[in-house]
């Protein structure tokens, strides 16, 4: 065993994040760590990585039980962590960021020269199939590419134990495949990996052993051959989740005036002649490769970035049959459009504010009379939504930044569910959300649709796209290249359309 964790306990105030958790990882082993949102997975990794101290329990790494008292000490001992919440600095280049993580080592082992560093970074990026250069500014990368850069940073430390906390949550599927291939090569050479994920398919793809945490305790630990998907879910959620996707009970009324209609919407450089309509009660999926322009379409409908003479948006948007000029998020929200952006930390949440404050943000006016907030109403809304979405938090006054990743994502959804909208745009709504919660979110989206909301769903998670949508549009290089009815759409047909589009469409070079 390279790592032995015994009876770790950790509390945050009254929250019991971990209660006597144990975990053993052997050399060359991929150990999957799964569990619901808030089960304590990230807390455990932070403790192993020296970023947080356990209240009780022992950790021994390579037989030495000397406490790993700081991230630098853990790194020097050979433990490298790819954190769940992206940690790269926007203002530095990719290489600069990787170099930064190296500094504690430089002090211990003497100088590292710049050129060698850059070569190493480039080598890792190449190996991971990254399509951006090492001197690109991190702030300009897509969430997927940032994640890849983060993984490259983790690997560039040449660790003995690599801990990956939901490394693929915002990674494009193609990129995820490359990462897996690299991991397989490295574990064959003895690297041990703790792999945290909510994607059970990845667990079965990659892991040798799996440990389930539930409410901060060990719920199951077994070789992968001895468990199946159903058993894993039951251990995680405490009940069987039969159907991830709710049945489509109602047919959307496509004869009615569309709730949202786009006519030849064009944003030069990003997307061209995008036309589609969504009936009230319909869920339309927008599939395609990362960078095909999907997020840009969503943001344009929502008025983000706001209209400027420099980038003229052409074409027409109609909401409930009436022409609507997306001037900015404020006018979009007023018109009944809700938007869950793809990067929750940067765009979805005010992490330092409370759960209640975040949920209330899009509808402060409604919760106020003459500009004065009605605190009772505000609390009531927040409490109702945290309960409805089963957001795991010590209370609506807790700071959102202290919630586990999946619960943070639920708060972003709660903002718009609380407000209620005619058109809801979801850009990657479930990265980092556990199976049980995913099923709940899907149920909520379906219920919303049944109540007449039009939903535009952007997702790189193909099962999600197909399972939830009534209709799937495929975008490629800034154009819509295919439209598939739910019954006819398969993962293959969507991917094929996306790749065909790459070859044939005269479209735009790289739309992000």
């Amino acid at each position: 065993m390279i790592l032995q964790v015994k009876d770790i306990t950790k509390r945050f105030g009254v929250v019991r994040a971990l209660e006597g958790v144990s975990l053993d990882v052997g050399r060359g082993e991929v150990h999957a760590l799964v569990g619901e949102n808030g089960a304590g997975k990230s807390t455990l990794t932070r403790i192993i990585g020296g970023a947080e101290r356990a209240d009780a329990g022992d950790i021994s790494f390579e037989g030495s039980s000397q406490a790993l008292s700081s991230p630098a000490a853990a790194l020097a001992a050979g433990i490298s962590i790819v954190y769940q919440h992206l940690n790269l600095s926007d203002e530095l280049t990719v290489a600069g960021n990787l170099y930064l993580g190296r500094e504690p080592r430089r002090a211990l082992r003497g100088g590292v020269d710049d050129k060698a560093m850059r070569r190493a970074v480039t080598a890792w990026l190449d190996r991971l199939g990254a399509e951006f250069p090492a001197d690109e500014l991190v702030g300009r990368l897509s969430p997927s590419d940032r994640q890849l850069a983060e993984i490259a940073r983790g690997l560039s430390h040449d660790p003995k134990l690599l801990i990956m906390d939901e490394p693929t949550a915002s990674l494009a599927p193609v990129a995820a495949e490359r990462v897996f291939a690299v991991l397989r090569e490295l574990t064959a050479a003895g690297l041990a990996v703790i792999y945290i994920t909510h994607e059970l398919a990845h667990v079965f793809d990659l892991a040798d052993r799996v440990t389930v945490l539930k409410d901060g305790r060990n719920a199951l630990s077994a070789p992968i051959a001895e468990v199946d998907r159903g058993g894993l879910i039951e251990a995680m959620v405490g009940r069987a989740v039969e159907e991830l996707f709710p049945p489509r009970t109602q047919q959307p009324d496509r004869a009615a005036a569309p709730a949202l209609e786009l006519r030849d919407l064009t944003l030069p450089g990003y997307f061209e002649s995008v036309s589609f309509s969504i009936a009230p009660g319909e869920v339309v999926g927008l599939g395609g490769l990362v960078g095909s322009g999907r997020s840009r379409v969503a943001r344009a409908i929502f008025g983000d970035p706001p209209e400027r003479a420099a980038d003229p948006l052409r074409g027409t948007v109609l909401v409930d049959g009436e022409s609507f000029r997306p001037r900015g998020p404020r006018s979009a929200v007023k018109r009944g459009i809700g938007f869950v952006p793809e990067d929750r930390k940067a765009a979805g949440l005010v992490l330092g504010a409370t759960v209640a404050d975040n949920i209330a943000l899009p509808q402060l006016e409604r919760l106020a009379s003459f500009g004065v907030l009605r605190r009772g109403a505000e609390r009531a809304v927040a409490e109702r939504e945290t309960e409805a979405l089963r957001i795991k938090t010590p209370g609506v006054d807790a700071e959102v930044g202290n919630l586990s990743g999946g619960n943070q994502q639920k708060v972003v959804l709660a903002k718009w569910l609380a407000r209620g909208c005619r058109v809801l745009i979801l850009d990657e709504p479930t990265p980092g959300v556990d199976v049980g919660a995913k099923a709940e979110i899907y149920l909520l989206v379906r219920k919303l649709a049944d109540e007449g909301t039009a939903v535009l769903l952007i997702s790189s998670d193909l099962p999600e796209l197909l399972g939830l949508s009534d209709r799937v549009l495929v975008m490629s290089r800034g154009r819509i290249v295919a439209e598939l009815e739910a019954e006819a759409a398969t993962e293959e047909s969507v991917m094929k359309a996306a790749f065909d589009g790459m070859e044939t469409a005269p479209g735009l070079e790289s739309a992000a």
Binding site: V333, G348, E399
Partner: protein, 322 residues
Amino acid sequence: MSAIAARVARAPRPDLTGAAASWLALFTLAVVASILSSDFLDKQNLLNIGRQAAPLAVVSLGQTIVILCGGIDVSVGAVMSLTTVVVSTEMNGDPSMVIPAVLLVLVLGAAIGIVNGFLVARVGTDPFVTTLAAMLIISGAALVYTQGSPTNGLTPGFRQISEGEVLGIPASIFFAAGAFVFCWFILRRTVWGRTIYALGGNMRATFLSGRRTALVQASAYLAASLFAVVAGLLLAARIGTGAVSAGSGYELESIAAALIGGTAFGGGRGRISGTIAGVLILIVLFNLVNLLGLPSQLQQIVRGAVIVLGVAVYSRRAVTGS
């Protein structure tokens, strides 16, 4: 999460720790001061502290608002100076001119705040540079306006807003208390205040939630300027004259008070109760220098040291995340 668990586990807002810590520091300082100097707890001395603290408290409240939304305003000291000279010149010893003079400085302050706010929020200039330029322009204008000589037009009636006493307590303390309550209310109880905190925490997420980020951000500078005008009025009434340098130093002290009080540089976190503690810490320190008969130049050094301390406390919080 069940309602019961939620109730049991209601954690205090983390930013309280900042404000509470500053009150604790103030209390400790007061104990030390009373040991070092027997005059410290003297009633007259305490009232004096209050009188001296009032203008700084008012201007620091406005400064806190700007810092909360992620900015900074270094022009507030100059606005205070301008206020003292304009109000005393326009008043010119005539009691009937008191109200017009006060209205005039409020309008001037509003105009300055609007320009600052417009530049920062709409044009996107850097808050420090913008308000630094404003400070230079305002100071220059005040010099031109007075030709450098102090102006002595304040009426005795006007001076009562600082020197008058109600129930034995200086009137300026009531003004400062009123400003505090007003500020607390708009920050904690209104849509506007909630938006200030939100946009200091994450401007983009706030914008994408349909808030009027630019307008609210601009209005923070307007608020800071208006608070500075009120502070300038209290200051003029206290010192009894208008002087082009009357308010200099207040920009740094107000920033220090906010930071010592636990407001995060960069925005999103902080409480104005902490700012008041920060103000009192500064004033008690200055007072102590006087009481102990130390050279008054030492005040400058104390000021500088306390500002560094405030920033150091804040950066520690930022690194440890607590």
